[in-house]
């Protein structure tokens, strides 16, 4: 589905199931450099368990318009704006990696809008390797390669 948030098109996968506003809502937030399609089967499974599922493309990612947002705080306010645009009084929020940081920030700032919180791939401190940051600033393909390399690990 496409919806306007702050004048920009925002895209969300809904598990290809029709939205029923009577059902509880679940918002899925992807990590840095990714988009809604990391949640492929989860989105469908959540939707078909009787939820409104919204796997969001963050601004500038996937099929959502606009420049990417810079800070975790900005993204968490944007999640709140999306909920207002979609007329969701509250939702459960699932975040992966950077999306989990956004989910925590959102939970702290908007406790009344939060039903349940689910955090994946998160730690107390989440430093990013300086070489990855440098590569990302240069728009060097090394950045996604490092993300994939560290995500998969040595065993896979």
């Amino acid at each position: 589905m496409d919806i306007q948030v702050n004048g920009k098109r925002v895209h969300a996968a809904t598990g290809s199931r029709l939205i029923n506003k009577e059902e509880p809502a679940v918002i899925l937030l992807h990590g840095a450099g990714m988009d809604r399609t990391i949640w492929q089967l989860q989105t469908r499974n959540i939707a078909y368990m009787g939820r409104q599922a919204y796997a969001l493309d963050l601004p500038g990612h996937g099929r959502s318009e606009g420049a990417p947002l810079i800070t975790i705080s900005e993204i968490s306010e944007w999640v709140s704006d999306f909920m207002d645009a979609a007329e969701l009084a509250s939702a459960s929020v699932i975040g992966h990696s950077m999306g989990a940081l956004v989910a925590i920030e959102f939970a702290g700032n908007h406790p009344k809008k939060l039903d349940k919180l689910c955090l994946m791939g998160i730690a107390e401190a989440m430093p990013v390797h300086p070489d990855l940051l440098d590569a990302a600033k240069r728009n060097d393909p090394l950045a996604p390669e490092l993300i994939v390399f560290w995500s998969v690990g040595g065993e896979a």
Binding site: S16, Q40, T43, N45
Partner: protein
């Protein structure tokens, strides 16, 4: 500066897609010879059927042994996924059926495997899909042949049997300017000699029966998705960007993003057309892929030695192989195929059709049969076998003369191969 340490090609050939079996410790890929898989409960069954969970349902759709092969081929090609099929032809038809409907059009190289040519020329028109064939060496001819209803540009990395090399980056540009994907049959080069996705190709099909298996034991095919074609931006592929009633309105591009094509090919094509690969045959092909890098090196060095011999032989009128300076694609070969141009070549025996027949009937080590890419050396006369259904004009477009011999150079001792060719050439001139 840190660098990712991804496993290299030779390692992937042995390991990609498989870990030792956690239950038994079996190191080799087990053959899961089963049609069906137990469901945990009715909810689990329903979610598998509805593409909400990963898992196996029925071996027409997926099978654990076949999955290892699919992941291995996808890894070797740097694709986002693969579907293994009953044959290379099944892979080609699966791609066409996933991409287009009645009224669609394909632009294809005129120098194709005879089976592919037959599908495009005689069979697909019965289902309302037409094909225009063009010279594989002329990217502008591809551009001119594209129509508003074109949905695929198709060719072979090395033409069959003319060994033409397509200028993949230029043909890819032509396809992408028209917002259609570019698919390549990479059977003759295998991922060891070339990675077509690096040259702008969107989809790859293989006959795994050939060099990938290498042993001539099993028929198999594969379709590999680069994940790079933007189906939404193209706007020409409703099978991928619009709701599919077959799965209650599932939109493949929306839910699966870069894997939209390969998911639809499995969820619709394997399910409805049923040309799946058996686990036993997947196992055979996996055994072949383990030694792919070693075999291809030997295939190429033997082919180059055979070409040198044939080029100097009095009984041979011409030799067609890209390592020869006389080959029209010699420079392109150096760019696209730096590790070698495979081991399939064609040549003309002095004395035309009759001498060609005598040559084929005189070989002792080489096998006269309808295959290529076996570890054993193979010979055939295309005009009377693999391409015999083609008209004279189509034969000319494909560069097939009546005296042409196609040779698939194996990995026997090179001196034995050359000795056999030498005595058969001598015999071809007697009569």
């Amino acid at each position: 500066m840190v660098k990712p340490k991804f496993p290299k090609f030779d390692t992937l050939s042995l390991h990609a897609g498989q870990q030792p079996d956690p239950t038994t410790g079996a190191r080799a890929v087990p053959i899961y010879q089963t049609t069906s898989y137990m469901f945990e409960d009715t909810d689990h069954a329903a979610s598998l059927y509805n593409l909400e969970r990963p898992g196996h349902i029925y071996s027409r759709l997926s099978n654990p042994t076949v999955s290892v092969l699919e992941e291995r081929v996808a890894a070797l090609e740097s694709g986002v996924g693969a579907v293994a099929t009953a044959s290379g032809m099944a892979a080609l038809f699966l791609a066409v059926a996933t991409l287009m409907d009645k009224g669609s059009h394909i632009v294809a190289s005129g120098s194709l495997y005879g089976g592919s040519h037959n599908l495009f020329t005689y069979t697909l028109p019965r289902f309302g899909i037409e094909t225009t064939f063009v010279n594989p060496r002329d990217p502008e001819a591809f551009r001119k042949a594209i129509r508003p209803e074109t949905r695929l540009v198709f060719g072979e990395t090395l033409g069959n049997p003319g060994i033409e090399i397509m200028d993949l980056p230029r043909v890819a540009d032509v396809a992408h300017e028209a917002s259609v994907p570019f698919m390549i049959d990479s059977t003759f080069t295998t991922p060891y000699l070339m990675n077509p996705f690096e040259h702008g190709v969107d989809l790859i099909m293989h006959s795994l029966t050939k060099f990938m298996g290498g042993h001539g034991l099993a028929i198999a095919g594969a379709l590999v998705d680069s994940g790079r074609f933007d189906w939404y931006a193209s706007g020409k592929f409703p099978t991928l960007t619009e709701p599919y009633a077959g799965y209650h309105g599932l939109n493949f591009a929306d839910e699966f993003g870069p894997q939209a094509f390969i998911m639809r090919a499995r969820a619709e094509g394997l399910k409805d057309f049923g040309a799946c690969l058996s686990p036993q045959n997947a196992f055979y092909i996996l055994q072949g892929i383990e030694t792919l890098p070693l075999r291809i090196q030997k295939h190429v060095s033997n082919a180059e030695a055979v070409v040198t011999f044939l080029d100097e032989a009095d009984e041979v009128e011409w030799v067609n192989y890209p390592s020869l300076k006389s080959h029209p694609d010699h420079e392109l070969a150096k760019k696209l195929l730096p590790k070698g141009a495979g081991s399939i070549l064609s040549f003309g025996v002095r004395g035309g059709r009759i001498a060609g027949r005598r040559f084929i009937e005189s070989v002792l080590l080489a096998s006269h049969l309808a295959n290529v890419g076996d570890a054993k050396t193979l010979v055939i006369h295309p005009a009377s076998t693999t391409h015999q259904q083609m008209s004279t004009d189509d034969l000319a477009l494909a560069g097939i003369g009546e005296g042409m011999i196609r040779l698939s150079v194996g990995i026997e001792d090179i001196q034995d191969i050359i000795d056999d060719l030498k005595q058969a050439l001598r015999a071809s001139q007697k009569g």
